[in-house]
Amino acid sequence: MAVLVKIPTQLRAVTDGEAEAEVGGGTVGEVLDSLFDRFGDLRERICDDGDLRRFVNVYVGGEDIRFLSGLETEVSDGDEVTILPAVAGGR
């Protein structure tokens, strides 16, 4: 099963400049693990003790995974997973 992961500019230093990666996995957690297999330095950038760091947002098809099932959120073939830093502006 192939999922397209979109990588923000801040992480491209550890993805050899790649802005997207196609990886496998049935859940967001598995997708991220596949991504870490390919880009080893990525893990510690966005994960801490196996959980996502608190300022990392992950979206599946535009929906924040915290509104779904977190890292257990299921993904299917052709889904798009987006990683973004959690800044909100304001007002």
């Binding site: 500019t9 760091r53 300022f55 924040d64 973004l84 502006g89 304001g90």
Partner: protein, 411 residues
């Protein structure tokens, strides 16, 4: 103070002072780091501030700019009004209103935009942009127009008409996104990676946030270089709330102010209260709100970037974060207008309603000096006043007037 670097609030990694907002090591937010010289002559510093312009630039020593700042619109140094009638109505001792409706585009957003735009110009940007719930939109459009820069303003499509009109008039590129503010913000975060634009609240966010410190500076200066005992302030992203405290801390640290931080009370609307909920539940991080539903649209950020820091500040100072309903917000707008003559947008209704709630709960001591921060003008959210009062329509005659209007004052 010397501006040293951008520094991660989470892991302290330092970066150069360019357009970046997120730590590449841990994704934490970046903040401007300063160092100050030893043995500051505090009296000389105070005199220099007092001799400065009647704008935020009197505090240039505490802002992250490398050259003397200039802006065409006069931002800041807004009135701090003593509100005895409001205090009396609520059974409080001393209440002051920091009236930030008195800014060039009628909200506190002029402060953050003035600083971010000045820094954007120093960095050579020619296009300015933002994600906004309205007040920031107007400020970015106006300050860009005054500076002769092109601007792109992204707003949720369901914004109040007054805010849309008061933004478009400046000739900006106005983009109404069919989605919530958080979706607008996500889009802008992606766009900031693709375009070489200065998004004031995305890639310029560390500088932008510094502008909010000036509310703290002004408040202390206007109180005669003293700290208030308590600050009540609206919380959307949590940036303003935490930066006011940062301003106080910088001045305590350098010796311009004596004492400790005031108690900080945050104000949210019940229809979008991720920070108030986390406070009530004892959590350190906020669970995002997916579908904000409140008349206080300028506070409708479901996923607040500085939520964890706002929680930490409220707990550290013995304050709290409260939420109020739409009806309480309308009552808050009326209460402030009737007792102070200040017409605030719904966000100020939230703040005033939380002040009333704290007073009713007995949380505020009789001898406390309380400052409430009113961040935007009521003309931005006029609908909230509709239907809350009666208009007497009469024929132009004395009889018609006497018949229609109950007079309480005898001739």
């Amino acid at each position: 103070m010397a501006v040293d670097a951008l520094k991660c609030k989470e892991c302290s990694t330092e970066y150069p002072l360019d357009a970046r907002f997120v730590c590449e090591r841990c994704f934490g937010p970046l903040e401007v780091a300063y160092s100050r010289e030893e043995d500051v002559d505090v009296d000389a510093l105070r005199r220099r501030i007092q001799a400065g312009p009647q704008t935020i630039w009197r505090y240039a020593d505490f802002l992250p700019l490398s050259s003397p700042p200039r802006s065409a619109l006069p931002t800041g140094f807004t009135p701090l009004a003593r509100a005895d009638r409001l205090a009396e109505r609520l059974g409080l001792g001393e209440v002051w209103v920091k009236n930030d409706t008195a800014n060039p585009t009628h909200s506190f957003k002029d402060r953050v935009v003035s600083v971010a735009l000045a820094r954007a110009q120093e960095l050579g940007f020619e296009v300015v942009a933002c994600a906004s719930t309205g007040n920031l939109a107007g400020a970015v459009a106006a300050h860009s127009a005054a500076a002769g820069l092109e601007s792109y303003v992204f707003i949720p499509a369901d914004l109040e008409e007054q805010k849309v009109l008061a933004t478009g008039v400046y000739g900006t590129n106005l983009i109404a996104v069919r989605g919530s503010y958080d979706e607008v913000n996500r889009l802008c975060t992606e766009l900031a990676g693709e375009h070489d634009w200065a998004f004031v609240n995305v890639n310029l966010r560390p500088y932008y946030g510094e502008g909010s410190k000036t509310i703290g500076f002004e408040t202390a200066e206007q109180l005669g270089w003293e700290l208030p005992d308590r600050v009540v302030c609206p919380v959307a992203s949590g940036s303003l709330f935490t930066k006011i405290a940062r301003g106080f801390e910088e001045w305590i640290d350098i010796g311009l102010l004596d004492g400790t931080l005031p108690t900080f009370n945050g104000a949210q609307a019940a229809g979008c209260s991720p920070v108030a909920s986390a406070f009530a539940e004892g959590h350190e991080i906020c669970r995002p709100v997916r579908d904000p539903d409140t008349i206080a649209k300028s506070l409708a950020i479901g996923n607040p970037a500085d939520g964890p820091y706002a929680l930490e500040l409220a707990r550290r100072t013995g304050g709290g974060i409260d939420a109020v309903t739409d009806d309480e917000i309308r009552d808050g707008v009326r209460l402030l207008a009737e007792t102070t003559g200040i017409f605030t947008e719904t966000a100020g209704g939230v703040t005033t309603a939380v002040l009333a709630k704290l007073a009713e709960r007995g949380d505020i001591g009789a001898d406390e000096r309380v400052v409430i921060v009113i961040t935007g003008d009521g003309l931005k959210t006029l609908d909230v006043a509709r239907g809350t009062f009666e208009t007497h329509e009469i024929d132009p005659s004395l009889e018609a007037f006497e018949a229609a209007v109950p007079t309480t004052v005898s001739a």
